[in-house]
Symmetry: C2
Subunit: 271 residues, 2 copies
């Protein structure tokens, strides 16, 4: 039996993408309060180096722990790929990234043993998914592919039609014809492009959304007693961003399903 | 007659884009030494707010003035659009942005009086080109258009073929058929897409590169005695970046014509 702990879950991402993870957390853990931080002054992380992303991740984590969160969700694949060891070394609360849960779900799902991973250049270059998949199940064949144009496409809301289809084809065609039956959407922006990705990959390929897998992992951490659960009633959500909130609020509904009504700007002054 | 001043010109941009301006400076002012700073830890600026971009611009300017530059070139349209007054208020050296020179060149060029401006969301939203064109010549009709996908396309080197052509068509078709004979490339990345832009706009539309116009403006500031000129011999170039230099060095030749052989990482710690 777990104790009651009404402190919020802390969730950060480089910007709006992590709202797809928040959406999964809402659905899986409907009683838990959430504090979300989008580092919109420094977005994107996916094209930046491991050192710089780790520094930004530490600033984000310090801000969220200052708000007394009981668990930290790194809702950004690039930051999960490069910064988890540094965060776990310095924080006293449990830290859950999106990569291990996504890899676990994909390894459990594939029948052919051939898995695709799509992500930012930073995530793919890190090899984090490749390592996590190998740790989950030996003998998997992994085809990893960096898709740098997908983030700006999702940010701009250019989700259907010839342009995203052509870009997706260009990235994915080298991966086809190798028996791949499962593809990890290894960036929180990519679920928005699910339609065009499914069309290019074919209807029989399963798309694994790391957000859903991460919400399940958070649920297991709470159930294991590593942090208490909130119990019903009194749930809250708060949103913080590092640039002015206008654009974040404007595009939030596309990622979250419902619009964020209010987000507060904070200045993480050292960066 | 101007005095001799062998101190370098300082040039900054959010990343690699300003190298197209540096290329123009090299050609127009072959004796002047240059120190270049690319703020690759915080790129891009074009999708961020005026306040955040101004803060980053001030950090960049402070770093370059610490290296004793005699003149500052803001080789980034977004920073030029929003941060010039703040920079001029605090710096003792002349500050040259890319927008006034680009607007002046376009106003002098157009015969029909109908001018197009392409830029990042930040630049277009600021209205800086629209104001600068109106100040140069009354009665101009200006069609301004934000083209957010052009920067990632140029950064990824995706410069030809169906994808950039389709994206360019999508952005530019609303601008066609209004008698526009001159278009300002209001972002330092866009000269890389010149081929596809010329194809979509038509061969009779003049494309104005703000980099060339800015180099001419810098030359005039030096000739006017606001800073001395270097005179022949002893020219140097130094490159600094705020993220690790690998990617900057890798893609530099695409923007500069010749590769940057060495760039040094600096930590602009307050951001």
């Amino acid at each position: 039996m777990t104790s009651v702990d009404r402190r919020p879950l802390g969730v950060f991402d480089s910007g709006v993408g992590g709202l797809t993870v928040l959406r999964s957390l809402r659905a899986r853990l409907p009683d838990e309060s959430i504090v979300y931080l989008g580092d919109t002054a420094r977005v994107p992380y996916g094209t930046k180096s491991a050192g710089v992303v780790t520094r930004y991740a530490q600033l984000n984590a310090a801000f969220l722990t200052s708000l007394d969160v009981k668990l930290l969700v790194v809702a950004c694949n690039t930051a999960s790929a490069v910064a988890l060891p540094a965060l776990r070394a310095t924080l006293s609360v449990p830290v859950v990234g999106v990569i291990e849960p996504g890899a676990r779900a994909a390894a459990a799902r594939t029948r052919t043993g051939v898995v695709g991973v799509l992500g930012t250049p930073g995530t793919i270059r890190s090899g984090a998914y490749q390592r996590a998949l190998a740790a989950e199940r030996s003998g998997l064949t992994v085809h990893a592919r960096a898709c740098p144009l997908f983030v700006p496409l999702a940010e701009e809301g250019w989700l259907t039609g010839d342009v995203p289809r052509l870009i997706a084809r260009s990235y994915l065609e080298p991966l086809l014809g190798h028996g791949m039956d499962t593809v990890v959407l290894g960036c929180t922006h990519y679920p928005l492009l699910r339609g065009v990705l499914q069309e290019v990959l074919g209807a029989d390929v399963a798309l694994v959304d790391s957000g859903d897998a991460t919400a399940e992992a958070v649920s297991q951490v709470l159930a294991a007693g590593k942090a208490g659960t909130a119990g019903p009633g009194g749930r809250t959500e708060r949103f913080y961003v590092t640039d002015i909130p206008d654009r974040f609020v404007d595009v939030s509904a596309r990622f979250l399903g419902t619009p964020v009504s209010d987000a507060q700007q904070v200045d993480l002054a050292v960066g």
